[in-house]
């Protein structure tokens, strides 16, 4: 085998994605030329994906601390204390590239990966959310991607048995060559039972558990090395295939082994597989590891050390056993029909020693692998931003018929109801789901307590491209506001930063600005970022996606019964609009859906007002003063009101009026931060008014519920008067119509 190993040169290193400088750096660090397998370790661990070479400097701007934080970034997932001895563990991950290559399996394995991140912390996953972006559904290729991705998520999540309770699905041509598949998972664990990816005690046995290793997803660079013999075709890296059944067994076996006290540390074999685990676990603990690859369960004959180390076969973990508990590990995994093989030991370090049949094939100091170089390449705003900002949306013609304009917007793919997707997802397994998909945030009870959590994801690439800093902040604010509308206090954030190539100055600028915005909003709202993911290089032939930070927020309800949903519950309720009056058509869904334009300026945002609005909504829901609460997001006030009318089990009409505006479309479809629609029963109006006064936020009554129509007046003029039936038709069937 060693005979077939390619000679290590700077060209080979380049072929594996390392730069010439990095290659020199490796030689200096080792004091010699790396061996082939060693080079493989470096290429994987120093990749952008594992090492955050281009993003680490910026990510340090994000606030990571707070009173509830039990675990911040750096572990498999973050953890927050939610009281009564429970912690919520959560994280979001991207699987964009694999999903483009093979939508079904790519999305499925994305779900698998994030589930493992949660249960390696000792938590039982209780909810998934999927945040998706696709190109124009008029393109049949996009439709195939959508179908593949949604059915892949459905298959994996349903088979595994974790409900998918929320997410997003938006469409824009910039995602055509690069769809986004971000999946968030939330789990629950006792605060004193959180596990970490550590390899602390020297001499501890290191176990490989789960599925066998194949040549799945190995760095494409192996292809070059396989050209040395006639088995090139067989060695080709292959697409990763998900196995949710084995994952479910892994979950049960891991949690059982943890409960039995047989586990000291554990990590999911995700990106860069065994290479990543065997270096990251000792790196966190200041130890080393000595591993025998011949013991690794293999699915295919003749795998090289390089392949075994870099394989990304799914449903596998590296587990460090508690001292003397090796047999318990074996017994528990055998009970669940899983491989659990001792492949090595924790050593005093500092080296990671990889052997094949006893012979070392790699011997590298763990810190060298963990300390990838960091880059701070130049960044600069893209040209042309000024022109985009200068565009005045009111230079476009106003709609001749506002009924049609509203109905058209409601039926547009990004705004239409997403039931076509989420009815394919089990939303209830675990019997915790108090609010299912279809409201601002999903709400799940915490059994055995009075509490519940609210979860959501949000992000709007159009906002970010026009103003990355404000767009980043808006994503945090919208997600937190969604959770507040459900009645929860936002507790913490996980973020998935989807951008183009960081080697392009304008992309890196967008990234830096967006992170700055996210950080500012998190600080203003008191939200720590406890985990996340950076996905760069989302571009096809030089066309980058819209810069898309997706923000996941978890919030807490002290009383599960006091939650709200977005739809009107009955007639005769008064409708209030909370938050500032300023909106803008710049970057709005209306501007895109109706005029095909992405330009203009975003509305200003005051983070202190945002904080107070969220607190006011949460207090109003908590006190039982509102019968519905809905955030105004894409599509503005008109779409929010229409959704309040038709998204519930029974339709309820409404009439609302807003003051004079530059133009009615600006008032109705303009988007702005910090705005929430609520409904209040007549008997609670006084109490509600008192609470609003106390909250010191801008707000006002705008109308009432009742009837079979939605009527909207701007500056005293009736502009919209549509039957709910028409609204519902457009909105409920919109997505299916576009995907048909």
């Amino acid at each position: 085998m060693t005979a077939a190993e390619p000679k290590v040169t700077v060209d080979l290193a380049r072929g594996l994605g390392l730069t010439a400088d990095e290659y020199d750096h490796i030689i200096r660090r080792l004091g010699r030329e790396p061996r082939y397998t060693e080079l493989g370790l470096f290429s994987a661990l120093w990749s952008e994906h594992c090492a955050y070479k281009h993003s680490k400097t910026f990510l340090h701007r994000l606030p990571q601390h707070g009173p509830h934080v039990l675990q911040g970034p750096g572990e498999n997932a973050g953890a927050l204390d939610i009281g009564d001895g429970w912690a919520v563990v959560f994280k979001i991950e991207s699987h964009n590239h694999p999903s483009f290559i093979e939508p079904f399996q790519g999305a499925a394995t994305g779900v698998g990966g994030i589930l493992r991140d949660i249960f390696t912390m000792g938590a039982r996953p209780i909810a998934l959310l999927d945040s998706l972006r696709f190109g124009d559904p008029a393109d049949p290729r996009t439709r195939r991607l959508v179908e593949g991705v949604v059915s892949g998520i459905s298959w994996y999540g349903n088979c595994f048995g974790c409900p998918t309770v929320g997410g997003e699905m938006a469409f824009a041509p910039e995602y055509a060559g690069n769809p986004l598949v971000n999946v968030m998972c939330v789990g629950l664990v006792r605060t004193d039972r959180i596990f970490r990816a550590r390899a602390e005690r020297v001499g501890s046995a290191v176990f490989y558990v789960g599925n066998k290793t194949g040549r799945d997803g190995i760095h494409g660079a192996t292809m070059a090395s396989a050209a040395f013999d006639e088995h090139a075709e067989e060695r080709r890296p292959t697409v990763q295939v998900g196995d949710p059944f084995t994952e479910k067994l892994l979950l049960e076996a891991c949690l059982e082994a943890m409960a039995a006290g047989a586990v000291a540390g554990i990590q999911d074999m995700g990106a860069a597989g065994l290479a990543c685990c065997t270096s990251e676990m000792p790196a966190r603990s200041g130890t080393g590891m000595d591993v025998e690859l011949a013991r690794v369960p293999q699915r295919e004959p003749g795998m090289t050390p390089y392949e075994i180390l870099l394989s990304e076969s799914q449903e596998r973990m590296l587990l460090v056993a508690a001292p003397g508990r090796e047999d318990d590990v074996r017994r528990i995994f055998a009970k669940w029909d899983l491989d659990a093989v001792e492949i090595g030991r924790v050593t005093a370090g500092p080296d990671l020693v990889i052997r094949l049949n006893g012979e070392p094939v790699a011997c590298v100091p763990v810190p060298a692998l963990a300390e990838a170089p960091r880059y701070e390449p130049p960044f600069a705003p893209p040209r042309g931003l000024g022109e985009l900002h200068a565009f005045d949306p009111l230079s476009l013609p106003a709609p001749a018929d506002y009924d049609d304009a509203l109905v058209g917007l409601l039926g547009s793919p990004t705004i239409a109801r997403k039931e076509w997707a989420y009815r394919q997802y089990d939303q209830q397994v675990g019997i915790n789901t108090l609010v299912r998909p279809g409201s601002d945030a999903a709400v799940l009870r915490v059994k055995g307590t009075r509490r519940a959590i609210a979860v959501t994801t949000d992000g709007n690439g159009r906002h970010v491209v026009l103003d990355p800093r404000r767009g980043g902040a808006l994503a945090v604010c919208e997600a937190a506001r969604n959770v507040a509308c459900a009645g929860a206090r936002p507790l913490g954030v996980t973020d998935c930063l989807n951008f183009g190539s960081p080697e392009r100055p304008e992309v890196l600028w967008q990234f830096a600005e967006a992170v700055e915005g996210i950080a500012a909003a998190c600080r203003a709202l008191g939200l720590p970022v406890v985990g996340g993911n950076v996905s760069f290089y989302n571009e096809t032939s030089g066309q980058a996606i819209l810069p898309t930070p997706v923000v996941g927020v978890v919030g807490l309800l002290e009383d599960a019964a006091q939650h709200a949903t977005q739809w009107f519950k009955g007639e005769g309720h008064r409708i209030a609009l909370l938050g500032p009056g300023e909106v803008s058509l710049g970057g709005s869904e209306y501007l895109w859906a109706r005029h095909g334009r992405l330009a203009g300026r975003l509305a200003r945002q005051d983070l202190e007002v945002e904080r107070r609005v969220q607190a006011a909504v949460q207090a109003a829901v908590g006190a039982g003063l509102v019968t519905a609460a809905h955030d105004c997001a894409e599509g503005g006030l008109a779409v929010a009101l229409a959704e309040c009318c038709v998204s519930g089990p029974a339709r309820v009409g409404a009439e609302a009026s807003v003051g004079a505006a530059p133009r009615a479309d600006h008032a109705l479809f303009g988007e702005g931060p910090s705005r929430v629609v609520v409904a209040v029963e007549p008997g609670r109006v006084r109490e509600f008014e008192a609470l609003m006064a106390e909250s010191a936020i801008p707000w006002g009554w705008i109308g009432g519920t009742g009837g079979e129509r939605l009527r909207l007046n701007v500056g005293g003029v009736a502009v919209v008067d549509v039957a709910l039936d028409r609204i519902e038709q457009a909105w409920r069937n919109g997505l299916e119509r576009h995907l048909a």
Partner: protein, 91 residues
């Protein structure tokens, strides 16, 4: 003309189904199964002038829809018989 398309996972791709079925068979006492792989069977009846044209047509269908080139290989066999699946089953 009737054809049978056999669609199989490429070598090296984890055959989740096959592995699971092999394990269950072993549990049922069929430990003598050395290997088991699961694929798809597509039987198709096409209207074409010549057998060669028909086969080319089926091949095109495979490339366009029936097989996923990233995960699967396929083979095409011509079959005899009156109607699809009307042959005598074993039972």
């Amino acid at each position: 003309m009737r054809f049978r398309v056999l669609v199989r996972l490429k070598r090296g791709i984890l055959d989740v189904q096959g592995a699971a079925v092999q394990r269950s068979l072993a549990g049922l006492g069929f430990g003598d199964v050395r290997e088991l792989r699961i694929g798809k069977l597509v039987e198709v009846d096409v209207d074409e002038a010549t057998p060669a044209a028909a086969r080319a047509r089926v091949d095109e269908m495979c490339r366009r829809l029936l097989a996923n080139p990233i995960l699967e290989d396929y083979t095409i066999e011509e079959i005899e018989g009156e109607r699809l699946a009307a042959r005598e089953p074993v039972r």
